[in-house]
């Protein structure tokens, strides 16, 4: 998708630069070159470069004002994004960490992150999380606003939210993913969100 966007951006820049070259030729005033083709090529190169620089400046300016939220769910014991559960592991408690990093410029919003899980999991939060996290029906809900309330305007907040997960029933072949999702009702263009999911696979002995 990003490649397509980039290609389209390049096409638009090429068209705009061609028009600018035609209507506002620069190099003919600056250089003593008689070849029109060469002058046009130099103009085209200049305009494309200027547009690219403006584009980068614009986005770096937006980026500086953004609040960046990164979330990943990991298997606490192995610190990776995979859980393989064997029949003997059902009814056992497995420690899972939701790692959250919030950086950048603080934004006011009623942002919530949700992690939904299948009905045959029992999930329980560990201590110290109840102020900003709660479990509703098959879903862990994190209130980001509560988490960042006391932070200054520049945030650099890293939290590990621990919860335990227990499989009620083991079914070989089942594969689930736990993924953090941002509440879509409150999406602010100045908040970027990235998440890494945890894969849970139920396998045989």
């Amino acid at each position: 998708m990003n490649n397509i966007k980039n290609t389209l951006k390049n096409l638009i820049f090429a068209i705009l630069s061609s028009l600018a070259t035609h209507y506002f030729p620069l190099s003919s005033h600056l250089l003593k070159i008689t070849s029109d083709k060469l002058l046009s090529s130099i103009d085209l190169a200049i305009y494309i470069t200027v547009l690219n620089i403006l584009w980068e400046l614009f986005f770096s300016c937006i980026d500086k004002n953004k609040m960046k939220v990164k979330a990943s769910i990991v298997n606490k014991r192995q610190d990776n994004n995979k859980f393989i559960l064997r029949p003997n592991d059902s009814m056992e408690n497995h420690e899972v960490l939701l790692k959250l990093a919030i950086t950048g410029r603080k934004k006011k919003s009623n942002l919530k992150i949700r992690v939904s899980y299948p009905n045959y999991f029992t999930v329980q939060l560990s201590r110290g999380m109840f102020d900003f996290a709660k479990i509703t029906e098959n879903c862990i809900e994190l209130d980001l606003q509560t988490m960042i309330n006391s932070s200054s305007s520049e945030i650099n907040l890293h939290r590990e939210i621990e919860f335990n997960l227990s499989l009620d029933q083991h079914n070989i072949g089942n594969k689930d993913t736990l993924k953090c999702l941002l509440d879509k009702c409150n999406i602010n263009p100045l908040i970027s969100f990235q998440s890494t999911e945890l894969e849970i696979r139920q396998e045989g002995v």
């Binding site: 009814m91 056992e92 408690n93 045959y120 201590r127 109840f130 335990n164």
Partner: protein, 150 residues
């Protein structure tokens, strides 16, 4: 008393008597699912809860006489035993808490056995609680209530 702990939709603690054979994973799984259908979620006896319970019980001067763990080092159970005394010092309590939270050393806390007012109680990581008296039951309910508000 030999029960499992469940929470209703309002986070109230409900103790449920175990069905026959509830120590097998199949029966335990069936029992949990039945309770879920009735709106009760099992309270998981996690490492975090057992670590908290150890602190809670020591705070009430209960005698914790056994903590079973799955450790990566064979010496850990003996080290735990060395801190379990009828009147543990502040140092013992601190070292024990630290050790139980050390995920590099301890894989799982399996069970915790204690005496409260002369009566025996036990909490297992499989979710089962044993107690000789209703006071032990009330004590555990109090511990869970406080844990859920932390």
């Amino acid at each position: 008393m030999c029960e499992k702990i469940f929470l209703d939709g309002h986070k109230n603690i409900v103790l449920k008597k175990l069905p026959k054979g509830a120590f097998s994973k199949e029966v335990a799984s069936k029992f949990r699912l039945e309770q879920k259908q009735q709106g009760y979620t099992e309270f998981l006896i996690t490492n975090d809860f057992l670590t908290y319970l150890q602190d809670f019980l020591h705070g009430l001067n209960c005698y914790i006489f056994n903590i079973q763990v799955e450790a990566l080092d064979d010496n850990i159970p003996n080290l735990i035993k060395s801190h379990l005394k009828q009147n543990p010092s502040e140092d013992d309590r601190y070292s024990l808490s630290k050790l139980l939270q050390d995920t590099e050393q301890i894989e799982k806390i399996r069970s915790l056995e204690f005496y409260y007012k002369g009566k025996q109680g036990e909490v297992n990581s499989n979710g089962v609680i044993f107690g000789e008296d209703s006071e032990v039951e009330e004590l555990l309910q109090q511990a869970i209530k406080e844990y859920l508000s932390k």
